[in-house]
Amino acid sequence: MAFFMTINGRRVEANEGEMVLTVARRAGIDIPTLCHHEAVEPFGSCRLCMIEVTKPAWNGWKGLMTSCLYPAAADLIVETDSERVRQVRRNVLDLLLARCPDAELIQKLAADYGVIQSTFPTRENPDKCILCGLCVRVCETAATSAIATVQRGHEREIGTPWGGPPPDCIGCLACVHVCPTGHIKYEDVGGMRKVWGREFELQRCEKTGKVLPITKEQAVFLAKRQNMNPNYLSKSADAQRKDTAETLGRIAKWNKLGMAMAPEVK
């Protein structure tokens, strides 16, 4: 059921069960996020989408919440860009910049919030991982849970079982493409794909022998999980298009023949 709530003084429509972030984005109000992706459930780990919420019944008390996890409600009043919100985001970006000084996206977001240089000492040997866990969640939703966060505290990182090549990985590169900072690296060379320290053989087109953008393990996995005929995942788009065009061309030829043979209607 639809109802109305207030975001930045604007009256916007929301539906039951939606989160404030979804409502705000639909209304064209920008809230920065790093760990959010439409394909997975919200998680609230990057803390960048913080907003200030209040209700008339709360006697002026204002709470800081993550908008990706805060359910929309009638008569809710939201501020997405107040000074308090900006200060919280500045702190978050300050910490992230200390962790990942080389990540371009973090640098850009931090600069937007006025953080040019982190006030904290930067990490030794920094990488670009902000530990948002989006790759882990996508792998869980779309693939096989081949990666997870390992260790605790300051040693926490995204890793594979026992640090070796992940046995369950299907090489679908979902983790690579959703990573907000581009930390996860992969290589596609000569029909082989290398990701997470494991080598995958890429599927080849049955007709032309062309390398397809999916791995053999991925084709087997998708055929089983999505209940597909494996033949669907064994030909390249170009070969399929050519086949279909030839079939349609044959039909067109018969149609032309039919048009020529048909008695002229006057």
């Binding site: 999916i214 999505q226 788009a237």
Partner: protein, 138 residues
């Protein structure tokens, strides 16, 4: 109101106006190679324009592991949600007609959506001189 794109290859003269119309409507700088409608030559003076057929039991919808490809029940058009897509490229392989394309940036998938958001009037059909491509209301 649902509409359907009708392809009648016997009328195609291979002028590729549909490719250009598509590339200039959706593409960047009108690159015809990145059009969602491709005209293939299958013989002497025989051409077949190939576009998404919006299949009823679509392979792309079935193969998507995150349900990013869905059918709009009102218009009967299959859409890709770029926000949901994880760029696993399974749909580009799964389409049995090869009509799921990789976009210009090389990381997104694009398909014919009958110009949804562009007046909901397929440009390829508007520019087709011989009515090889035409729109039918269903």
């Amino acid at each position: 109101m649902a509409q359907r794109l009708v392809v009648q290859p016997q009328y195609c003269i291979g002028c590729r106006a549909c490719e250009m119309a598509c590339a200039f409507t959706h593409g960047d700088k009108g690159q015809p190679g990145k059009s969602r409608c491709l005209t293939l030559t299958v013989g002497k003076d025989e051409y077949v324009p190939m576009l998404c057929l919006q299949c009823d039991n679509a392979a792309c919808v079935q193969v998507c592991p995150v349900e990013a490809i869905t059918r709009d029940e009102d218009t009967n058009v299959v859409h890709v949600d770029p926000e949901k897509c994880i760029q696993c490229m399974a749909c580009t392989v799964a389409c049995p007609f090869g009509n799921m394309h990789v976009g210009i940036a090389k990381i997104e998938v694009v398909k014919c959506d009958l110009c949804a958001g562009f007046g909901d009037n397929p440009r390829c059909a508007m520019f087709c001189p011989t009515k090889c491509l035409s729109v039918e209301m269903v």
